[in-house]
Amino acid sequence: MIDRDAQLEYPRRAEGRFPGLLTGGSLRLLSLLSLLGAWVVGAALLSPNVLPGPLETLAFCWRELRSGELTFHLAVTMRRVLIAFGLAMVLGTVLGALVGAFKPLDKLLGAWLVFGLTLPRIVLFVMAYLIFGLNDTAAVAALTLTVLPTVIVQLREGTKALDPKLLELSRAYRRPPLLVWRQVVFPQLLPFVVGTARGALSLAWKMVVLAELLGRTSGVGYQIAFYFQMFNMTGILAYGLAMMLVLAIIDVSFSALTERAFRWRRPLRF
């Protein structure tokens, strides 16, 4: 007689040679520790004027935090980034969708997009400071224009990839345009919007330092320029580290939002 229960026993999946040790969490910790280790070794090998160690840098961070300098400059930088990012996303999404939907417009703006994508960013910042003066308007405008072409191109591709069958379905059932935009078009563009937003924010976050370094008297970029002139590598690293930390927090939050927005993609396992 066949033992049915025995037949239903499937062999367990091999879990590697060190089951339980090399899980996702521990691998991530290992990755972080190895990075820290490389920093410690590098700091031991090089002069503290070139590469200060993690403890020294963290101590500097703490001093700046207590004096309020770090939070002030981080907040100024973040405000510039968020305004530019918001403007670029709204304008870029609308323009990208229009360019994707209307071929003549795509051709008409083609040269502008190539110009925007290939222009060295530093030229853009210099031009903005020359036109608007050394002020926040110039910095934010240049930062917006830095990010805008990438957003337009991504959203253009997203619009071109809209499923014509779902649009036909909407036509067949004579759905009102607003409902079609909300329930058929936007959900298809959302992956492009989210993907672009992550890239755009990261780009804006990096470029703002350049803008501040060139023509502002506040912000993380200004502080980095200041400490560079003082040959203070600890100060440079401390501000760099603070920026990296903020960006990492934003990126993790984006991941969580993405997970929530695309839960429909995850099939159940019966």
């Binding site: 069958k165 067949a172 059932y173 409902l179 329930q183 959900p187």
Partner: protein, 245 residues
């Protein structure tokens, strides 16, 4: 309710050097509440004709009009379920209705197609057969006067297709809407339809009409030997072995 009258319908698609004639001079009368099948090999213009009748594509020549009062309510089913993957099954039904439709009304339809309790699922969490059931519910929940169906069961396994055909017939008996059903399966055509319109390619046109309803009253049995013989005759017809008598 609504019937359909098509006169001299033609369709050509412009190509680089010449026009491709997809349909030529199609005349068609569909009675109110009638179930007709458009049957033919791939590329004979069945879907094009269906889309023209359903208003999804314009005809290059000829006219299509609906008999009865005004513009009829229409339901559609496509070869694939075509559900919106980011909406729950319940919200997919709500999509074709007034957005304030209460969930109870939607759930009762889901129950009727065997999807009771699946309202909160996303399409990716269902089998293709279950998705196509949801598409049946979506097509019928609008209480259509004319239902356009484009090979809706061709991508399913035969067992699921068998069940869904019977469920479709059951629902059609209740509502008695006009149905235009495209298929390339002769047995499916003679089992479902009051009338089968056989189409030929190059250019697409209707070549023969088989009045199944006159000889096979409903309900029909799929195992009926006479029905099976008729479907074999239709196969011969499609293969160019002359007209059925």
């Amino acid at each position: 309710m609504a019937g359909i009258v098509a006169r001299g319908v033609g369709k050509h698609y412009p190509l680089a050097k010449t026009d491709k004639l997809a349909l030529s001079n199609v005349d068609l009368n569909v009675q109110d509440g009638e179930f007709i099948c458009l049957l033919g090999p791939s590329g004979c213009g069945k879907t094009t004709l269906l889309n023209i009748l359903g208003g999804l594509e314009p005809a290059s020549q000829g006219t299509v009009r609906f008999t009865g009062v005004g513009d009829p309510r229409r339901g559609y089913m496509f070869q694939e379920p075509r559900l919106l993957p980011w909406l729950s099954v319940r919200d997919n039904l709500r999509f074709v209705l007034d957005q304030r439709t209460r969930s109870e009304a939607l759930d009762s339809w889901l129950k009727r197609v065997g999807l009771g309790g699946y309202g909160d699922y996303f399409p990716a969490q269902l089998s293709v057969g279950m998705q196509q059931r949801a598409a049946v519910a979506r097509a019928l929940i609008t209480e259509p006067e004319v239902l356009f169906m484009d090979e809706p069961f061709s991508a399913l396994d035969e067992l699921t297709a068998l069940r869904l055909r019977d469920e479709l017939l059951g629902l059609w008996h209740e509502r008695r809407c006009t149905v235009v059903f495209v298929t390339h399966n002769p047995l499916e055509a003679v089992y479902l339809a009051d009338r089968v319109l056989v189409m030929s390619p190059s250019p697409g046109r209707i070549t023969q009409e088989i009045r199944v309803g006159e000889h096979f009253p409903r309900p029909r049995e799929l195992e009926d030997a006479a029905l099976w013989r008729l479907s074999r005759g239709v196969v011969g017809l499609l293969m160019g072995e002359g007209a059925l008598t």
